[in-house]
């Protein structure tokens, strides 16, 4: 056996070992959003792993669609996704229509039977923190009602979420409203508004360079 081919084999084995040892494998870097147009808008070409992304939009803006698409890309990579559904509104058939494997999407819906007395906000934030920090989920979308929380308290809880995402390496997707009373400690913020002819318009928040992009989703094609 020639020295060259031996070297090539060793290099190949090293590469394989590196790949096996790279632990956690999907921790670093960015999670593709599942939409090339959105990826192009995001620094790094996706939602940052180990951090929060703020998807700010109204009740029918299309932010949930974006979050489901990102979870779909995490699942397509072999990861697991979670959706903390504090409002109890998520409609899974729409996720399925996006091609998301529903078996790998954990829906957490804190109900009135939970020990915290059914406060979808408090319990939802607690669940989100646990999921983000666990290291078991590649993407965690958080949709919880926060109206009853004082802004200072909410901001503290959001900081906890950001820290949990950093610990667990998950891409945290915060579904917020544009008029949230406090700052979201997010690495990136997208403003989502409904498009004029169907679809979604996404704008990266000022400060990071504002550009606009329009996304037309399967779930939103009129």
């Amino acid at each position: 056996m020639g020295v060259e081919s031996q070297r090539a084999i060793i290099e190949d084995l090293r590469d394989r070992i590196r790949r096996i040892e790279r632990r956690p494998a999907r921790r670093e870097g960015f999670l593709p959003s599942g939409r090339p147009e959105v990826d192009a808008l995001l620094p790094g070409g996706g939602f940052p792993r180990g951090a929060l992304a703020d998807l700010a939009g109204g009740p029918a803006s299309g932010k949930t669609l974006l979050a489901l698409a990102a979870i779909g890309s995490a699942v397509a990579e072999g990861g697991l996704g979670a959706f903390v559904d504090g409002r109890g509104e998520l409609y899974p058939p729409a996720a399925q229509a996006l091609g998301l494997d529903l078996d790998r999407l954990l829906v957490v819906r804190p109900g009135p039977r939970s020990r915290g007395g059914g406060n979808g906000g408090q319990e939802g934030l607690w669940a989100a923190e646990a999921l983000l920090a666990s290291g078991a989920f590649a993407a965690v979308a958080v949709d919880v009602p926060v109206r009853g929380l004082l802004p200072a308290r909410l901001e503290a809880m959001l900081r906890r979420l950001a820290a949990a995402a950093e610990k667990g390496g998950a891409a945290g997707l915060w579904l917020g409203s544009p008029d949230l009373a406090c700052r979201v400690p997010a690495a990136v913020r997208l403003e989502v508004i409904p498009g004029e002819r169907g679809g979604v318009r996404v704008r990266r928040a000022p400060g990071l360079g504002a550009e606009g992009v329009r996304v037309t989703g399967a779930g939103h094609a009129a």
């Binding site: 072999g78 409609y91 058939p93 399925q96 229509a97 999407l105 039977r113 169907g198 399967a218």
Partner: protein
């Protein structure tokens, strides 16, 4: 006629079946004392008392001068703080049963040998992973059995030999933590033991001693016929036992009850730390017992005994059947640290109140074990705090009614193969007649126009129009101009239970986005049912 030892040793060994099975005997010396000590913290001076006399005493009591055989009064005089525990054979039996359960993880069969031993089928020891070919894995099996016993709070001695009686005698009197008599060597190993090791019928030992037999070796050298002549069949049996010929099969123990373990606190405890310490012990023990049976808990109950009376019960649901004590502890810690108790705690009891067969592969995520463990832990934490119903994976259901188009199923749990429903005559019912199934194309087309959010219950909306044209929808005290509209899509059915008949429209409201609105055929009103968010 004095027997000639050399001659009798030359007797042909029995050949062919039945042969003595390989048995691992685990002897638990002073079981009643060990049992009393394991549920108490520290090393209290303690004595087991029966009919006013000490039958066994803890090292602390022994150091103070208490000896087995002392009367209770003598013992109390020697050791002022002595705790006297009555001998409780029933509790000892229960302790043996609990340990047998845990040992089922190691051996295909475990027999309870009263009063203080357990016998394990060691015939499969060589099949264990990493079994030493030198001894067929028997010494390793014995080591593991002692480790399980230690985990459950007991010290013991183990011996592997051919036959139940010999193994037990060697464990009890062999004087070594682990003793192994290779096949064919059992008689030699037994020869050094005193006659009492054979646990002969009452009186037999004395009668044998009267004729000058002072040990098992001497007994083994006698021809069975001569013994039968003088001591009857019992004598012949004793000699066979002495030669290691014990073909009796094991009588396997089959556990019936769900495991439960208790622990008494060192006085009344008010802080979480000592409780966690006790809870860890209990979790280890209950988990070992479940694991021995191939079971996992799906629900645990921790009962806290309060001072002076009363109880506080905590129920812990688990995301999936598991016998991982470390995982239980994560949940127990969470519950205990957030607990406000009305009184101090004097004892703990942990029981597995609901169990299921633990799947060998816990999760089917095809991921690394550390991810599977992390997932296990977080799912169980969530289930414990939010309730099991709060976690699910959606599964599509073939139903036209939008709110019934999916159902909540278990997340990442192995799906059982669907069991076809059968008619009374046993013929399977074709699934298509159970629910009006949607065709694949139908389902896909339908899924394409479904909103990401569904409101429950649907909210009434009021239409505002001009000249028969819908111009705005009044929703939440505000009128939203209609920018575009598509539809209707008629969804109706379930006439046999709760009929519904709805015309769905996708309506784009300016400043809000796309909404899913339906006109209810029953009352003719409009409702907002979903949001294309």
């Amino acid at each position: 006629m004095p027997p000639d030892g050399a001659e009798t040793l030359a007797l042909p060994l029995p050949v062919g079946p039945p042969r003595a099975p390989r048995v691992l005997a685990l002897s638990l010396p002073a079981l009643s004392l060990q049992r009393a000590l394991r549920s108490r913290p520290g090393a209290p001076p303690l004595a087991v008392v029966h009919e006013g006399r000490v039958v066994a005493c803890a090292p602390a009591a022994r150091a103070a001068g208490v000896r087995p055989g002392d009367s209770l009064t003598q013992a109390r005089a020697a050791c002022a703080g002595l705790a006297a525990v009555p001998l409780d054979p029933a509790a000892d039996r229960a302790a043996l049963r609990a340990l047998a359960e845990a040992l089922l993880a190691l051996a295909p069969a475990v027999e309870i040998a009263l009063p203080d031993a357990l016998l394990l089928d060691a015939s499969a020891a060589h099949l264990a992973r990493g079994a030493d070919p030198e001894d067929g894995g028997e010494a390793a099996l014995a080591g593991r059995a002692l480790a399980v016993a230690a985990e459950m709070g007991y010290r013991g001695r183990a011996a592997v030999a051919s036959g139940k009686g010999p193994a037990r005698a060697l464990a009890r009197h062999g004087g070594e933590p682990i003793l192994r008599a290779a096949p064919g060597e059992t008689a030699r190993a037994l020869a050094a033991l005193p006659l009492s090791a054979l646990e002969l019928p009452p009186g037999m030992e004395e009668r044998l001693a009267a004729v000058g037999l002072d040990g098992v070796g001497a007994l083994a050298r006698l021809a069975p016929e001569s013994l039968a002549h003088r001591f009857g069949p019992e004598g012949a049996a004793a000699a066979r036992l002495a030669r290691g010929e014990d073909e009796r099969p094991l009588v396997p123990y089959v556990p019936e009850t769900l495991p439960e373990e208790a622990w008494d606190c060192d006085g009344a405890v008010e802080s979480a730390e000592p409780l966690l310490f006790g809870a860890k012990r209990l979790a280890d023990r209950v988990a070992a017992r479940l694991a021995g049976r191939g079971l996992g808990a799906t629900r645990l109950k921790l009962t806290l005994k309060l001072d002076p009376r009363g109880e506080e019960r905590l129920l812990l649901p688990l995301a999936r059947p598991t016998a991982a004590a470390a995982l239980w502890l994560v949940l127990l810690r969470e519950r205990l640290s957030g607990l406000r108790l009305p009184a101090a705690v004097t004892g703990l009891r942990l029981s597995a109140v609901e169990v299921a067969e633990a799947p060998p592969e816990q999760l089917s995520i095809g991921d690394r074990p550390e991810v599977a463990r992390a997932l296990e832990a977080v799912l169980s934490r969530l289930a414990a705090r939010l309730g099991e119903g709060a976690l699910f994976a959606a599964a599509p259901a073939d139903r036209h009614r939008p709110e019934a188009a999916y159902r909540a199923g278990p997340f990442l749990k192995e799906k059982a193969a669907p069991v076809p429903r059968r008619r009374k005559n046993g013929a399977p019912i074709p699934t298509s007649t159970l629910t009006p199934a949607l065709s694949r194309g139908e389902r896909e087309a339908e899924a394409r126009v479904r909103p990401t959010r569904l409101l429950s219950p649907p909210r009434p909306v009021v239409a505002e129009g001009e000249g028969g044209r819908l111009t705005a929808l009044r929703l939440g005290g505000r009128a939203w101009p209609v920018a575009a509209m598509a539809g209707p899509e008629r969804l109706a059915g379930e006439w046999w239970s709760e009929p519904f008949d709805r015309d769905y429209y996708r309506v784009r409201l300016e400043g809000l986005g796309d909404c899913w609105i339906y006109r209810d055929g029953a009352d003719g009103r409009l409702y907002l049912h979903g949001l294309f968010d």
